[in-house]
């Protein structure tokens, strides 16, 4: 009986902590969206889209046990809204890789920003435009790297933006600290190209280093 009560108390403390963490994430997301917003309408639209992206990745992490998630699942749930009208316009492929909760969440939010940008200004703003999202493992002498490439084609001519918005800033900050290096974003006139790179050891869940095919 006492064990049961102690376990209950521990669970309640843990739940309280997790709720606070989520509230802190949402609060930070709101404050940063507010900084970049030009109007109340834009604030509402951008914030709710980001909140939905966060909520979806939370669900798939929860469904896969709470600590890890597959990259393919993260890509699928993040890109699903953009596949409904013309499934063939977004092609995603790569090996099965298991990411830690934080790496999975961060990548989902980065892919959400890339997708939103493509819909508003990039390849997905025109009927013939398309996005290729490929990932692979590249071994080096010391360790293996995950490389993710986002390539847009068939959209309007691309030119570098005059100022960087939430998406670019978030990707630089988040990938710089979690993945060890910021993404490379190339504003090629024929389409935006973004390369994300990170050491696999930093992206894998702490207890499972096997990563299901992650090691070549």
């Amino acid at each position: 009986m006492r064990d049961h009560i102690e376990r209950e108390i521990a669970l309640r403390l843990e739940l309280n902590h997790r709720v606070k963490n989520i509230l802190a994430s949402v609060s930070s997301m709101f404050q940063m969206t507010l900084r970049g917003a030009q109007s109340v309408e834009q604030l509402a639209e951008d914030f709710s889209a980001r909140l939905i992206a966060l909520s979806k990745v939370h669900s798939v992490v929860f469904e896969s046990g709470g600590e890890a998630v597959s990259l393919k699942t993260v890509v699928d749930i993040t890109m699903s809204p953009y596949r409904r009208d013309g499934g063939s316009r977004v092609a995603a492929k790569g090996p099965d890789i298991t990411l830690s909760r934080d790496a999975g969440t961060t990548l989902a939010l980065c892919i959400h920003e890339l997708a939103t940008n493509a819909i508003k200004y990039g390849a997905l703003s025109l009927p013939d435009g398309r996005v290729d999202l490929d990932w692979r493992i590249v071994p080096t002498e010391d360790e293996a790297f995950l490389i993710i490439e986002w390539s847009e084609t068939g959209g309007p001519p691309v030119s570098p933006p005059s100022r960087s918005g939430y998406g670019t800033k978030y990707m630089r900050s988040a990938l710089g600290s979690l993945f060890g290096e910021p993404p490379s974003i190339v504003y090629d006139p024929s389409g935006l190209h973004c390369t994300i790179r990170g050491a696999l050891s930093r992206l894998s869940p702490p207890d499972r280093d096997d990563g299901k095919g992650a090691r070549p």
Partner: protein, 124 residues
């Protein structure tokens, strides 16, 4: 902050949204953001390349509940820090490792007043 070089503040935190926000808040307040890593193991591995005067530290990191150990480790190297956490009981139990505690979600006023403790530590 007069003519002195602004304090360079490093952030040990595994939540990329919170890092993104704190980076902007620190710059608003005139501090230099000295980078962020998500685990105590990464901090130890990269410490030689980092340039920091002080640190903000979460309790739960990518390699477990290692925030208190990270704070003690930095303290031994002369780097003062603050906890930034929703885990107030653990933070209070390890209060001797830090100069103060910032609660999550972060309120900018609380962040700026706690940062003054780091400023004061540099002066002394």
């Amino acid at each position: 902050m007069t003519a002195r070089r602004p304090l360079r503040i490093f952030y040990l935190e595994d939540n990329s949204l919170i890092v993104f926000h704190v980076e902007a808040l620190l710059e608003d307040l005139g501090y230099v953001f000295a980078g962020s890593l998500s685990s105590f193991a990464d901090l130890k591995r990269n410490f030689a390349q980092l340039q920091m005067d002080a640190a903000l530290i979460d309790i739960d990191l990518a390699d477990g509940r290692t925030g208190p150990d990270a704070a003690t480790w930095l303290q031994q190297r002369g780097i003062p820090s603050l906890f930034v956490t929703g885990r107030e009981l653990t933070a209070k139990a390890n209060a001797s490792a830090v100069l103060g505690i910032i609660r999550k979600p972060i309120e900018p006023e609380q962040l700026s007043s706690q940062l003054l403790l780091l400023e004061a530590a540099r002066r002394s």
